[in-house]
Symmetry: C2
Subunit: 301 residues, 2 copies
Amino acid sequence: MKIAIIGAGAVGAWYGARLALSGHDTHFVLRSDYETVTRDGYRLRTAAGEERLFPVNTHRASATVGVCDLVVIALKATANDKFAELVTPLVGPNTTVLTLQNGMGNTEKLAALFGMEKVMAGLCFVCLNRTASGVIENFHAGRIAFAEGAGPATDRTRTVAKAFEDAGVTVSIADSHEEILWKKLCWNVPFNGLSIAAGGITTDKIMASPELVALSRSLMEELRAAAKARGFAISDKFIEAQFTVTRDMGAYKPSSLIDWLEHRPVEVDAIWGEPLRRGLAAGIPMPHLTTLHALLTALCK
Amino acid sequence: MKIAIIGAGAVGAWYGARLALSGHDTHFVLRSDYETVTRDGYRLRTAAGEERLFPVNTHRASATVGVCDLVVIALKATANDKFAELVTPLVGPNTTVLTLQNGMGNTEKLAALFGMEKVMAGLCFVCLNRTASGVIENFHAGRIAFAEGAGPATDRTRTVAKAFEDAGVTVSIADSHEEILWKKLCWNVPFNGLSIAAGGITTDKIMASPELVALSRSLMEELRAAAKARGFAISDKFIEAQFTVTRDMGAYKPSSLIDWLEHRPVEVDAIWGEPLRRGLAAGIPMPHLTTLHALLTALCK
């Protein structure tokens, strides 16, 4: 496949390099990392060692890439206003546009430009760090859950997931993107959010505070009620599991906390704003999320 | 009257000095300001100029003061665990113990030690700043609303209020301390709280954020519902007035924000914890306050 990677931060670079290493004609549209990656390629580090991708098909703009079979979007959701400029030159009649982004509302924004039938989503349950220009580290394998932008999985979903699987990525396939999105938000909303709103703390500090654990649970319950109103069930067991995995993470810095500490834009609208709007529109009161969203809006200005 | 001032920060020093200037035998129990105030006295500054109290009856401990007619408590509520040590030596059979402290629960803690019949409360609607050791500034006259710790105003309430009035203080008398406390919290809970939780911002920044204004209103509505469940009505007009006065304040730093910025203890339990407990105990859900309280507990550790 001819593949373009838009937004080559940790997630885009990692999966793009994996796809390139497995033989796909993969093109990276880069800004700040253009010189380094053109000169030195990508280094992918795991506990098992380092893999290198060199040379890399680097581009300064989408126009020189041309139409692709698959466009992988790993931009911060705060840059979604660049979709038209960055993605349009890559899309032809048979292109699939795959968002690997955080938060809610990305597929709808892509669909508004390219039609929902072109849009797929992959939710990344992984911890990737860009430790230097061109250097990405991953010490926890993780997985991507693929789904159509709307509707159940199709042959196309399975084909794209298979390409990632063949590139060494653990994949799963879901029949509803929105369902797994609500579930992922059950972690991101409390833990990304409280790590910022409680003053810039790691997840172990959240777990050590009875007040913040109780608040995390209230936020999850609101998301669960909103998901239910939208037709998606989230089990008690799933809610409990969020605390169990978090307890095992130790002093973890959620990605939004890192963005905030480094004075980069935080995906407030995608992670907190859109689920809040969707829940309220479905008639679910979400006072805890309303409070957290208002504070994050002020804190992440 | 023989009067002791316990907790001579801005509030204690100001009102204590006013009482001394009006002729009362007033004693100040001091820690950090002992030397300066003993040597230089108090300077009270207003737009009209400066008044000076010198000499001042200063003490390092309550024991050398002895039993008083009136004990004025202006400690931070975070120091309430010192009541037994600081107040007991001052209390005889006919002593009135008057708390001028912020927040809810102070009268009950004093009553547990001395009996509610000895306890009075004065809610200070004023902006006082201690700009240096022994120097207190006040550019807004303000007032104190006096009430019995429990029950309606009595002759004793009026006698104490009159002493303050004769010392140049604007006073009012209320038949329920708890009622005016809920009302004062309608300002302190949102504005002191959000000024910290939104990252250390002045009240004009809160008023400039539609999300934070909406959140302030939700917090006030929860307090109003809790007050109602406790038997106290708060009018729409009163709620609106909180926004009007805040708009007129400009870039104001609530006292809790100043404490927080200067790494001093913040009165989290008195301002947010106790009204939350009281509201929940009365069967009122308070999700916005629950969220804010959890975050402040973490932020003010």
